[in-house]
């Protein structure tokens, strides 16, 4: 079942990459300079992404080695309660790098029993960027930054609950 899903995902990923490459070919024919600039930007972005990908790879490796499904189900599963919500919020806030680098780990944790709501909460709380808070305070003020961060944390919980209800209503 998991192997089949993985094969489907890899196939979909190859098609997606092919579509993006076609878009680049099209952009190159229309405006070569724009396509080259985009490629240069993407190369630079990929270099920045490598350490995060390495971190995620290590985390997946360690979680496969040490974190057993029983632990995930107890701490991030359906009955994990306040501990599960707190772990997802703190994990989301502390995680670094682009969001898509974390999809792999979250998928891995979900197959071990992490509940859907907590995945959505984790992803939402990635919006609160601790290292950037001083800069946000500089631009928009302390009160604004605090109020916004509190609302974002609260809405992350609502987001998680609703996403889980919607996704699991159909999938049973």
């Amino acid at each position: 079942m998991i192997e089949e899903k993985l094969r489907k995902m890899t196939g979909g990923g190859n098609i997606f990459l092919l579509i993006v490459m076609c878009l680049y070919a099209l952009a190159f024919m229309v405006n070569a300079e724009l396509a080259l600039n985009a490629l240069a930007f993407s190369t630079n972005l990929f270099h920045q992404l490598l350490p995060v990908l390495l971190l995620v790879f290590v985390l997946i490796f360690v979680s496969n080695l040490l974190v057993k499904p029983d632990w995930i189900r107890a701490n991030m599963g359906r009955d994990s309660g306040l501990r599960g919500w707190s772990l997802a919020i703190v994990g989301g806030i502390l995680s670094v790098g682009p969001i898509y680098a974390w999809y792999a780990l979250l998928r891995d944790l979900r197959t071990k029993g992490m509940r859907t709501a907590l995945i959505a909460v984790f992803l939402y709380n990635r919006g609160i960027k601790l290292p950037l808070l001083p800069l946000m305070i500089h631009y928009f003020g302390l009160a604004y930054t605090l109020v916004l961060a509190i609302y974002m944390t609260l809405f992350s919980l609502l987001n998680g609950i609703l996403v889980e209800k919607i996704v699991e209503r159909r999938t049973g």
């Binding site: 997606f16 985009a38 930007f41 993407s42 999809y103 998928r107 995945i119 928009f140 916004l148």
Partner: protein, 127 residues
């Protein structure tokens, strides 16, 4: 599993570069300025499409505020920028599921406007 995700990650990175070249952030300033609600909707939409570093959204938000654009619109842009991911959507859908990605992003989009209104109202109440 991780190797299987590489084409998706490479695709998203390439798409990010292309989108940023096609829609530079500084062009967004000209889209605002009609009314607060419409500006909030435009802010949330632009934030959802934008794929750059969040730092860019602060700089852009600061510029928009300085040009008289409402704080509701700027907040919707800031929140949507970091919670909605149109460019990352194909990767999210392939890895975490289409329904999950679709509804998560739709809810995040709606919440960005709601949070913007609540944040500004709260700040007004606080004085």
């Amino acid at each position: 599993m991780f190797v299987g995700m590489l084409p998706i990650l490479v695709g998203v990175v390439l798409l990010t570069g292309l989108i940023l070249e096609l829609v530079p952030a500084d062009r967004a300033a000209g889209w605002f300025g009609r009314n607060d609600m419409l500006d909030a909707l435009i802010g949330a939409t632009f934030g959802g499409i934008a794929a750059g570093h969040p730092l860019t959204s602060y700089v852009l938000g600061g510029e928009l505020l300085a040009n008289g654009i409402s704080l509701i619109a700027v907040t919707a842009l800031l929140v949507s920028w970091v919670t909605v991911g149109i460019v990352q959507f194909p990767a999210e859908a392939l890895i975490l599921g289409r329904r999950f990605a679709l509804y998560r992003n739709l809810l995040c989009f709606g919440f960005s406007i709601l949070i913007a209104m609540l944040t500004v109202s709260t700040l007004r109440l606080l004085g």
